[in-house]
Every structure is written in C-alpha cells, then in structure tokens.
C-alpha cells in the first residue's frame, strides 16, 4: 500500500514542482513573485534583511528538527525490525531545548528592536502630508501648502469585468498619484474619514492604519526617482480591493514646480466657485462627475442599484434643499450614501445635482450654481 501511495505522490507532485519551480526563479520587472521586495528605502531594506535572517534561522531549525524526525521514521520503523526503546524523560534535554531556542530568540530580537526604533522616529521631517482614507479612495493634503486632492482607482470597469484586456498595472493605478520629493524626509500623517483603512506601499515599507478620529505618523526617505505602487491593506468595505496607492518620487525641482502648479490650480478652482455657469456647461460636467462618483451605486442610467433610483426619485425631482442635503451631508439612514461635502468641489456638486435633476427623464429645469452649494454648506 505504501508503495502505491508514494507512487501517487510522486505522480502528483511532478507537475506541481514544475509549475512552482519555474516561479521560484521568475522575476517580473525586477520583482520577485515569491519574496518580499527589498524596496528603495533604508528602512525597507532593513526589514528585508530581518525577514531573510529570521527565515534562515527557521530553515536551520527546521532542518534539524525534521532531520531527526525523518531519520527516526526511516530507521526506527517496525517494518525494519526496530525494537522500541523505553526512555521517556531527561531533565537535561528539556533544559537544553528550552535554553537554546531562547538564546536564538534574543539574537532575533536585537536587530528587530533596532529597526523598530528607527521606524518610529518621525522627527525633523521636511515635508508633511496628511493622508485621509475614504470609502474607497485617498485624499492627500500637503500640510500648510494649500494643496490637496483625491486619488482614485483609474482601472476602467471593463477591465475588471473582463470585457477588456487588463493593463500591466491592473488595480494598481490611480488618476492622481501622490508626488514626493527625493532626498527629503517625508512624514505621513495618516487618518480616515469613515472606517479603518491602511495605507501601504511595499517598496517604502510603510504600512499605517488610518483610524477615524486619530492620526498615525510614519515617514520615508527616497533616494532615487521612481513610481511605487501599493494598496489599502485593511478591510474597509465593498471596494477594499479597489483603492490602490501610487507614490511618485521626483527630483526636488520637479516637485516644487508641480506643487506651485497645483497651488495655482486650487486658486483657480476657488474662483470658479463664484462663477455662474450655463445650464449646458453644468450638464456636461455633471455627466462626467456622475459617471465617476455616483454611477457605481445609482446605475449608469439612474436606474439604481446599491443606491436608490435617481430616475423619478422623489428627492431628485422634489425640493432642491432635500437634494442638496443628501448629497452634501449624506443619508441619515444608509451610510452607503456618504456625505460628499468634502469629496466633491462646489462646482462638481452643483454640476452633478443639476445633472441628476435633468437627466434620466427627470426635468426640473433647475440649474444649480456653485455659489448655491457654498451657501448651503455654510448654512449648516
């Protein structure tokens, strides 16, 4: 019987080994498919080193323990005529195999402690960035720079639904990456607006939970320009798998120009909030905003889904203030309908509301202006 089973094992393991061994060696784009990336910062390399050290300690111990075990299984089997000994106690042995592992642990704990102390030193940073998790995207705010923006998954729905071929950075791409300067200590202040998220970039070895109501700190220092991709690591609801992180490190000069641009753009947006738009302008922009921010729940044609139908909705065709309220402050009953107070600009809010009130068969004729939104927001 044993022969048959071992033949079975051999037979089954051949294709498996072939499959895996190909991969153990494989590296895609310089990244190992089987191991942790070494990353691009001194902390990530420390961690990689720790990881490998401990891994080899475990392999070593494993070889000894399993070695003795397999030796006994092969040599001390009844079928080979082995006679059982009768020893069953040895205080000496017990002491040895308590003390030796303990010493090994101390050898492991020492470098781990050193790395941890280093990881926790967030002092003296050059750039501070507040990272806020939202269901299901990130907001980046450059502290005291007047620049902030949202960063959302940019993988098209068709790729996710298998209706289009998947790109290389499938699920790991965003509309606006976080830009950081090289050769600067960047401090991340991580928090959340709703549930717990976790901001993780493997190449930087930064993983920090975003806790609503609390700020966690972390830092990084990147030497060479590059793009680093990560994900939200803490289960945060339906689209937890669809809120990637992309960090782009660029030379300081480039970073500064970009920052100045963004600041100017923000100024312009503020001005826009005072501008009066035509109905058609609002509808065009509203359609875009709707597709990006609302269609996932309310359906491409306003037919509803997770959210209620917009077509013929009593709120979207009724009193304007009710409509403003649910979009700006969210639903009191169902948290899935989040407050868009912060995540949509005044212009976008005005546009999307105008759109909802005049699309999918709704026809109130209202053209809501950004200034109305601003007033509503200030009113409560």
């Amino acid at each position: 019987m044993l022969k048959t089973t071992s033949r079975l094992v051999a037979w089954l393991s051949v294709p498996t080994l072939l499959l895996t061994s190909g991969h153990v060696l494989a590296e895609e784009n310089g990244r190992s498919t089987v191991n942790m990336p070494q990353g691009v910062t001194s902390t990530s390399q420390d961690i990689y080193g720790l990881h490998m050290d401990i891994f080899w300690w475990c392999v070593g111990i494993g070889v000894v323990v399993f070695g003795v075990m397999f030796y006994s299984m092969i040599v001390h089997r009844k079928a080979n005529g082995a006679k059982a000994a009768n020893f069953h106690e040895s205080t000496m042995l017990e002491i040895v195999w308590t003390v030796v592992p303990f010493l090994i642990l101390i050898l492991m704990a020492w470098p781990a402690t050193k790395s941890l102390v280093k990881l926790y030193d967030t002092s003296e940073s050059d750039v501070d960035i507040v990272i806020t998790g939202y269901q299901w995207f990130w907001k980046y705010e450059y502290l005291d720079q007047g620049v902030s923006f949202f960063s959302r998954l940019s993988t098209p729905e068709e790729q996710i639904r298998n209706q289009a071929p998947k790109g290389d950075n499938y699920l790991l791409e965003v509309d606006e990456p976080l830009l950081i300067p090289t050769n600067k200590k960047v401090r991340f202040l991580v928090t959340s607006n709703d549930v717990i998220h976790s901001w993780w970039v493997p190449d930087l070895a930064v993983k920090r939970d975003a806790i609503p109501g609390y700020v966690n700190e972390s830092w990084t220092y990147v030497n060479e320009p590059g793009t680093f991709r990560g994900v939200c690591a803490e289960l945060c609801g339906k689209d937890h798998g669809f809120m990637p992180v992309v960090v782009k490190a660029v030379e300081e000069g480039e970073y500064n120009t970009w920052l100045a641009d963004r600041r100017a753009q923000a100024e312009k947006e503020k001005e826009l909030a005072n501008k009066t738009f035509t109905f058609d302008e609002l509808m065009v922009q509203g359609e875009q905003v709707y597709g990006k921010a609302c269609a996932a729940c309310h359906g491409a044609n306003g037919e509803g889904g997770v959210g209620k139908a917009i077509a013929g909705s009593p709120i979207a065709t009724g009193d304007l203030s009710g409509h403003l309220d649910i979009v700006i402050n969210g639903s009191q009953v169902n948290p899935a309908m989040a407050a868009f107070r912060e995540t949509l600009s005044e212009v976008d809010t005005a546009a999307v509301i105008t759109y909802q009130r005049n699309a999918f068969g709704n026809s109130t004729g209202d053209a809501v202006q950004p200034i109305d939104i601003l007033k509503f927001k200030q009113g409560n």
Binding site: H23, I54, A84, V195
Partner: protein, 516 residues
Amino acid sequence: MAHGPAKGFTRWLYTTNHKDIGSMYLWFSFAMFLLGGVFALVIRAELFEPGLQIVEPGFFNQMTTMHGLVMVFGAVMPAFVGLANWMIPMMVGAPDMALPRMNNWSFWILPFAFAMMVATLFMEGGGPNFGWTFYAPLSTTYAPPSVTFFIFAVHIMGASSIMGSINIIATILNMRAPGMTLMKMPLFVWTWLITAYLLIAVMPVLAGVVTMMLMDIHFGTSFFDAAGGGDPVLFQHVFWFFGHPEVYIMILPAFGIVSAIIPTFARKPLFGYSSMVYATASIAFLSFIVWAHHMFTVGMPIAGELFFMYATMLIAVPTGVKVFNWVTTMFRGAMTFETPMLFSIAFVILFTIGGFSGLMLAIAPADFQYHDTYFVVAHFHYVLVPGAIFSITAGVYYWLPKWCGNMYNETMGKTQFWMAFIGLNLTFFPMHFVGLAGMQRRVPDYNQFFADFNMISSCGAFLFGAAQIMLLYNVISTIRGGKKATDEVWENPEGLEWTVASPAPYHTFSTPPAVK
C-alpha cells in the same frame, strides 16, 4: 437509570449521555466544516483568476467573513468539545460528564446560534461583511442591519462555550476515578482542562465587546467613536484579548490528541510528560499577554510594540518543547504508519512550519510588511488546517473503532491522507509567496502578477475538499459495518478508554475503575 439509549429521534433531542452528545457535537461540527468549506470554495473560485467573475465584491466579503466565523466557531471548537465529551469521561474513569443536562443544553444552543448567523446572509443588506474580526466602525456604524442578529448569535454561542467548559472543568476536577491523580491524566485531558480555563476567561470578554458594539449601534454610546471620546482601536484591544487566546483554544486540544497518538504508533511512552504539561500551561499563560501582535500597524506607542513583540516571540519556547518532545518520542521507537499516525506526523511538520511563519509575523518591523497580506493567511491556515483539522481527523480515525466497534478502511484512510496532504500544501503554500509579493487579504480581485499561484491555490482547495468527502464516506461506512475492532484496537495503547469493550458501552464506568 436506563441502560441503553432511548429509541427514536428523541434520543438525540433529550439525551444526557456524554457519548450521544459527543457524537452530536462531532456531526454538527462536520456539517459546519463542509459549509465553511463551501464558502471557502466560493472564495477560491472567485480568486481562480484576476477580474470579477463569480460573485460581487460585497458578497465576497460576506463569504470571507462567514468562512472565518463558521470554521472557527462552528467547525473547530465544537469538534474539540465533541471529542472532549466522548473521551474525557472515559479517560478519567467517570460515569458521565459532571453536569449532563447542562451538557445537552450547551450543544443544542449551537444549531440555533448558527442557524441565526447563517440566516443573516438572506437578510436585507446581506450578512456580516466585515471579516471574522469585525473591526469597528465597519461593523458598527457602517454595518448592514443584520449585524444585530450576528451579535446575538455570538452571545448565545459564547454562553454555550462557557457552559461547555464549566462542565469539562467540573468533570476533570471532580469525577476522576480513585488513583487518577492529576499528573497521571492523559495529556488530552490536561490540554482540555487548560483550554477550558482559557475559554472561561475569554468568552465573556468576547460577549463584552459585542455588547459594546450593540450599544454603539443602537443606543448612541461612544466606545468606538473618537468624536465622543472613544477609540476604534479599543475594539481591537478587547477583541484580540479574546482572539489570541482563542487561537490557542483551537490548538491546545490538538496537542493533546497528537500526544496520545504518537506514543501508540511509536510503541514508546510519551517523552517528557511533565514538561509537556508545564509547556501547555506556559503557552496558555503567555497567550494572555501577546494580543496586540495583531495590531502592530495601528500606531501603538513603541513601548507597547516592543512588549508585545518580545512576549509573542517567547511562545516559541514552550511550543518548541512540545515539538521536541514529540520528535524524541518517535526517536528509537518501533513505528508503524496507520492513518492516525500519518495525520499526526503531518501535524507536527506542518504545524511547525506554521509556527515558524508565526514567529516571523511576531517580528514587529517585519510585520509592517506582512500584516494583512496572504502571508498571514498562509500562516494561520498552516496552524489551523494541518493543525486543528488534521489533529481532529487523526483523533477520529484513532478512536472511531472504539466508538462504533468497527475498523475503518485503512487504504481509504491513507488515500484520504495523501489527498488532503497534497491538496492542503497546494492550497496554502503558494499563499506565502503571493503574500510576500504584496497581495493583501480580503480582496476579490488582484493584479495578474499574482495569478499563477492563485490558480494553484484554487485547484488545491478543490482537491482538499474532495478528500473531506472521502473522510465522510469512510466514517459512514465504518459506522455501518466492517471488520470488528478488538477492545484494544491498537497494539498496547495507553489509557482507560482501551480497557472497555469496542464499541464502548452506552454507560461506562458506572463504578469507577481502579487506576494503578
């Protein structure tokens, strides 16, 4: 006192017999294992390749959550309680459990609790979708309405566990036959005694934390809401104060089972009995002071981080003592490799591998990279599947002839072992790789970079599932007939359970046996 079982199905509804109740626990747990396994297969099918194909993300989260909950609370824990019910009275020479009616109550709560839990899947807004760890505020403010039913299911399930463990403690401490001193008890009894203490200490804390959730959801309290002065991380501390000991609850009885089986098939007494007892007690003690190793990334102060890292690493020492003792028991034995032994040997090897990855996770800075990836998923399946599940399977094969009087089919047993062994490693080993390479847990979709290993995992899962169907078949056919087993079943096994007839009579030890 009636001498045999009652007739008809009321035998099962009204029974006070530890063997009947043990059987019901075991069958219930197996049913839950299949159900949890089906959820796992849904997960694996969705993850077979990148892209969304079978289920929607929201439903996927419900599957992950229910899989974890059902496996932990529905499959593993009741299986161990079932084994305890069957074996502890026989092992200590008692006529039954100490409190037989309460025993039946502990069991019958479970089907109700799980019916309620599983029913949430059909409620408006869907079932629990926040992971088996149900972190607030995803499980409070942002939870579907069915969470209330989930909370109460946890409450009554906890009540069942507490009553079950009180019963076990009372049985072990009060019902031993004369001469059965504590240090003569089989290790399975010892590990269960310690497990029962763990349960009594932490199940109420779980009840406490779900009660806090309930209050936050329905009565406006601010335990987990910073706006009112609370803290979402408080939830995690309380949960893991329960949760970490919980994982040892799922492994200590396994240690006991393996410590019974290995000596039998090595034909050599267990090496280092007393150090095994002390090691178990140390593990239990340490399990209370390591909980925050699940929370290295929540932003604890560095002192806390270091404390929990060191304490966690320490657990490797007593666990190592156990492993070394098992290996030394095999050393210079006269080994044979019947199915229970195969499962036990696989247990020792694969559990140790899972322990090694646990130790890697314990290194706080490195955990910043591992946390919430498939590396963690690989770790805990290595300690749970070849750990808890294999030990239970080993125990079932080992004691089944005693329970029903028939020998199981050895060829089928061995075939099942190899299928399970291969399936399991195919499923869970590649998870180490995808985890290290950066795939986070609890996602329905992933980049192509991880595709190949995920495909292997999914295939392995189905193979492993098939092995379980074979186990079911083998057990049923053994119960229905087969070669008669001798009273001793194996060659010179140790323990009182082998001194009674096979199948064990409905009432054993109505008068206590003499223990040398």
